[in-house]
């Protein structure tokens, strides 16, 4: 690990001032930053600790929706009664993430900022990776792509985004709250992460010196009947091979409206918009109709050599999610 200077920000203004300097990085829970520092993925000259900033750790339910402070811990949000009751998909996604220790440390804002688990990006001995070193090439395109993206990749990168809770938030049309010295702005979560295109090193719309200060989930009739399903190669403590967040509004066994997001398949949480439209009005017990509608969401899938199985796996998972959401009271 290269050396760096360290300072603790006492206020958001302090943090924004410190973050304006080139070579500066923020640290909150530290679960990602420490690994990046150790692997040499980043080597900031200055680290600004925002972990003790006041007021950013609240979780609050209002008539407009749910506010989650950026520094709220994953474990705190997961067991918050308002979250469990009104936004079950968020609690479930969090409890299926990482381990108990990591959830006690990791912040919600940091969760959105985590970077891909692509093994080439994380390699201890550096390998070509356009995220890690722009222009160095993509080892995955000619290498192991089994765990990588089937949607949204490019000639430069086919990495997936690893967050579970971001998938839940995407299905609920959550908004990321950003603050900078120029002011505040709100970015829909589905627009927060960027597709790689020719610049895979640019992963979010966050500007230099801008800080994630919170997450807002709007009130929606779909949220109470929402769930998160995750398939992985171990029973626990593993990233998703594929996952899905489903939020459903149904009447007399028929789908009124549904929102579906996938994890583990794209560089960002992936909404299945075409499937959502096709599912409207369908009978929740008509499995073949459900499957046909869900398949429409995969028309633009572009699997690589080893990850074509994710299409079938994800489509079956979504159908299962629809059925289970339909069975919720």
């Amino acid at each position: 690990m290269n050396s760096f200077s360290y300072q603790r920000a006492a206020t958001v203004d302090d943090a924004l001032a410190a973050g304006a300097d080139a070579g500066s990085a923020y640290i909150a829970g530290g679960t990602e930053m420490l690994n990046w520092l150790k692997e040499g993925i980043v080597s900031p000259a200055r680290l600004t600790d925002i972990d003790r900033l006041p007021d950013l750790r609240r979780v609050q339910l209002t008539s407009e929706g749910l506010y989650i402070g950026a520094l709220a811990r994953m474990s705190e949000v997961a067991v918050n009664p308002d979250v469990q009751q009104n936004y079950p998909v968020v609690s479930q996604a969090l409890l299926k993430s990482a381990s108990a220790q990591l959830r006690n440390m990791a912040s919600m804002g940091g969760n959105l900022m985590q970077r891909t688990r692509c093994p080439y990006f994380r390699a201890e001995t550096e390998l070509p990776c356009n995220k890690r070193r722009p222009g160095s090439g993509c080892s995955a395109l000619d290498g192991e792509d089994r765990a990588l993206a089937i949607f949204g990749g490019s000639e430069a990168c086919i990495a997936t985004h690893p967050s579970d809770v971001a998938v839940a938030l995407a299905a609920l049309d959550a908004v990321v709250l950003l603050q900078s010295r120029e002011g505040n702005r709100r970015v829909p979560l589905v627009d927060f992460h960027l597709l790689p295109g020719a610049t895979p090193e640019r992963e979010t719309v966050l500007r230099p010196s801008e800080l994630v200060v919170g997450i807002h989930i709007p009130t929606t009739p779909l949220a109470r009947r929402s769930l998160y399903l995750k398939l992985r190669e171990r029973a626990s403590y593993e990233f998703a091979l594929v996952s899905t967040a489903v939020a459903l509004d149904a009447n007399d066994g028929r789908i009124q409206e549904v929102k579906i997001a996938l994890g583990g398949v794209a560089p960002k949480p992936w909404r299945l918009a075409a499937a959502e439209r096709a599912l409207r009005g369908l009978d929740l017990e008509d499995l073949s109709a459900l499957r046909g509608a869900v398949d429409q969401g995969f028309a633009d899938a572009r699997p690589g050599k080893q990850n074509g199985f994710k299409i079938e796996l994800a489509a079956r998972l979504v159908v299962r999610g629809l059925q289970q959401a339909g069975a919720m009271a």
Partner: protein, 154 residues
Amino acid sequence: MQINLKINGVVHSVSVEPRVTLLDALRERIGLTGTKKGCDRGECGACTVHLDGKRVLSCTTLAVMADGREITTIEGLAHGDALHPLQEAFIEHDAFQCGFCTSGQIMSGVGCIREGHTHSDAEVAEFMSGNLCRCAAYPQIRAAILSAAKNGGV
């Protein structure tokens, strides 16, 4: 940087570079070697300690981030010669073989019990999944945790 770490009830004032992890500060500066360095990447759980009462990984925490906070390590669980109830349970249930992961397992297990995630063997498995055991003593570890939770006093 000069920092104060309150470890097992005793304040230690140490000077560390910002890049020193809490794990290395505990082991190399303060001499508390009960906390183990396994993967040093936040994956194995061997370095688990309690920070302000919550189980966390000391390898992915910078020592400077813990300045002024309360840390409990495996050395702080027993009262003199009287072992902590979960330490007793680990012995009773033969919950270790080589012992390298044990301090992390016990610190994590205490957290698991205090959080209330001990309703079933499966729940313990889920909430202890962040602690790997290369000897695969998992059934005995879960039994020890379930028994300590049942007997109370953790």
